[in-house]
Amino acid sequence: MAILSSAPVLELRGISKGFPGVQALSGVALNLYPGEVHTLMGQNGAGKSTLIKVLTGVYTPDQGQILLEGRAIQPSSTLDAQNLGISTVYQEVNLCPNLSVAENIFIGRYPRKRGGIDWAGMQRQATELLERMQIRIDVSLPLARYPLAIQQMVAISRALLVSAKVLILDEPTSSLDEKEVELLFNVLRGLREQGMAILFVTHFLDQTYAISDRITVMRNGEREGEYACSELSRLELVNKMVGASSSATVAPVAAPAPSAPSKLTTFLRAVGLGRKGALSPMDIELRQGELLGLAGLLGSGRTEAARLLFGADRADSGSIVIDGKERNFASPRDAIAAGIGFCSEDRKHEGAVLELSVRENLILALQARTGILRAIPLKRQQQLAEEYVKALGIKTASIETPIGTLSGGNQQKVLLARWMATEPKMLILDEPTRGIDVRAKQEIMDYVTALCRKGMAILFISSELPEVLRVSDRIVVMRDRKAGGEYPRGALDETSVLQVIAAGDGHE
């Protein structure tokens, strides 16, 4: 390949970075050549973000070297990295929506003319810059007037203005629709022809294969490997990301057998449940005493499905039927009233109220249901708290300790107890065991399976395939914000789940 014959424009050698308690990166290498789109892939926590932050000067690596055109560099800030020629466009566009497109592109480096700002010149240059990407818009209008995809382009053209040699795109497509993604990719292809080195971070397999020349896979803070995109099958890629035993020769998964009429009572049935930009319409059924696993990579629509079922986001299509009655959840409150509980994947921001005590966190949902005026007597609160601290083995100095001082696993147990106290009929657990130690993980899963045996309907979401396979009675595999099939217990093993995930439309 021609691109490999030239020297890399950016070279990372043995980059390591540790944080208290975690080694985020260990000895990572990366080569980025001019005129290529290089995709960085890996599961959550694989170290992608840390690597990007090292590259852009947010973090200083503990070890290792960054070479830009053969010269060692040590970017000390994003601005510094930018001046060196490494520009980054982030997932959330960090521009000023109230300023004009032209101003956004030139902010901080307005062209000058006779002591003042050369507004006319700025607009002309901005128009030219955008035209290089085949975008023709009125650059004098405020940025907020344009869709997100155009805003991304503006962010890119701003990055290009600093005569960047390396362009980093950190999950630029996560809030774009298909057409907008195509527009963005056209721009990237154009830039690639002009010799730009592009590092692209994404969770989407389809997009990876649509645009990349090469792929670097990260796992557990290490570089798993670097591959030419054309030589790596989807299955191999997914295998490498999750670190499953690689065997590309397994037989394709049989189409899901028509599930036998279940003896279990249906608790909730959703038909065509979906939300634009988040989840393609899908059917899902939860039964009493059954644990339904949602498998899939991050960004595959698992969390989105959970949030729609709980009323945290509003569905714009489909219907939910509980006990034969159609329900329309306008808020989590409605879902709670219908007997549903939801442990969010983001414990810190969406679960724990860090400064409140274990007791207060534990009774919060129950109290919300009983109402503001009917306060649960303090005695009863303490009794409930003590009960669950004991039942779940929560390690805390006392029930009056702020939850923020507990370890992650114990916080998670308190949040689980928060829902248990409301005696729900259905529990949604989104990554309940993420970031907690092995023992707490085991205890939580044991407790959850026991609940299920007692008749609760459980929706279990996890990135850890072995865990999903071990505990689920039924599995729905999610892929690219769609349901990719439903399978009974035992029909799938790790490899076949990966195959389902990897089976993109029209590829195999």
């Binding site: 709670i336 400064e355 919300a368």
Partner: protein
């Protein structure tokens, strides 16, 4: 070491320190005497004068606990005072029965609160901007009511609210005491206190736990305006007139200061009603001290700003880190 200090330790220490200064420098500061069956003295005077501020601070505490702020307190003071004075009228008998006048004034205050609550909880405006609207419009409205004139009231029973005595103590102290107790009980005996803190600390988690966050936020703004309305009645009864231009001017800033002095963080979450009362007393004592020392009143502003500065510093995480680093350096150097 000072591992777990009571949250009221700092505000109480500040108040005690201030009182110590008064003990040393202001002769007869702690002297109390009974004249005509009424208790008189500097301490009573301070408590009496602090009453409207305490009320405003109580309302502000709950707003701040939800991560909000209400800068329309002074305007609501002007509105409620004006409405009451206008309805009672400038004669020695009341045009409207006083009870009706007071109810109308409180009704106007509640309406103001509902407006603020609607803007913040319903439309999602930033609290400072949302309440800025009423801060400007409210005082203007009050001035329109009175044609920009000071409306003097001669109806004696009205004055009781501001300067009356009951069982030897100023009547205003009973009002403040009752409001404080009622609020504290409301926070303790219902789940309101817990919910307000939860919303202030983590609104997303609160919503996912099933709280009606918008209703809660709406309520605290209504409550804050009700407190301000009551303070407005007290102030206008005390000055025996409705002064739309100056009544309660900048009271919101003193209330915010009182809340922060009392140990409630402007970032929301945990709050202390008792702390805010102490904060208001600190401010009033400070003012009183400066006057008694014979310093020019302008000094008061400067001293207050120094206090604000110190409070802000004590809440700044950045400053704490710098301070810690400095101390660690020193110890390292000595070792």
């Amino acid at each position: 070491m000072n591992s777990v200090r009571h949250p009221l330790f700092r505000p109480l220490a500040a108040l005690v320190l201030l009182l110590l200064v008064d003990l040393l420098l202001v002769p007869g500061f702690f002297h109390l005497e009974i004249k005509d069956g009424h208790l008189y003295g500097s301490l009573i005077d301070i408590a009496n004068r602090a009453a409207p501020l305490v009320l405003a601070a109580l309302g502000m505490t709950l707003v701040i606990a939800t991560r909000g702020i209400d800068i329309s307190v002074g305007a609501v003071v002007a509105i409620s005072g004006t409405v009451a004075a206008m309805l009672i009228g400038g004669a020695s008998t009341a045009d409207t029965p006083m009870a009706w006048a007071l109810c109308a004034a409180m009704g106007a205050a509640l309406l103001c609160g509902a407006w603020n609550g609607l803007l913040v909880a319903g439309l999602g405006l930033q609290p400072i901007v949302a309440t800025l609207i009423l801060m400007v419009a409210g005082r203007g409205l009050a001035q329109l009511f009175t044609d920009g004139q000071i409306l003097t009231v001669y109806y004696k029973p009205f004055f009781f609210l501001g300067s009356g005595y009951l069982f030897g103590l100023p009547f205003s102290l009973y009002i403040v005491g009752a409001v404080f107790l009622a609020t504290a009980l409301l926070m303790r005996k219902t789940a309101l206190g817990l919910f307000i803190q939860a919303v202030g600390i983590n609104p997303v988690a609160a919503r996912l736990a099933g709280l009606k966050t918008a209703v809660l936020v709406f309520f605290v703004y209504v409550f804050c305006s009700a407190c301000a309305g009551l303070a407005g009645l007290m102030i206008s009864a005390n000055i025996k007139s409705a002064d739309a231009n100056n009544a309660g001017l900048l009271l919101e800033l003193d209330a915010i200061l009182a809340v922060t002095l009392g140990g409630t963080s402007l970032a929301g979450g945990k709050f202390s009603l008792a702390g805010s009362v102490i904060g208001a007393l600190i401010i009033q004592t400070l003012t009183y001290t400066i006057y008694s020392l014979g310093l020019p009143p302008e000094v008061n502003m400067v001293v207050k700003s120094v206090v604000v500065f110190l409070v802000c510093l004590s809440q700044s995480a950045e400053f704490k880190n710098m301070w810690r680093a400095l101390r660690a350096n020193k110890q390292g150097g000595a070792a």
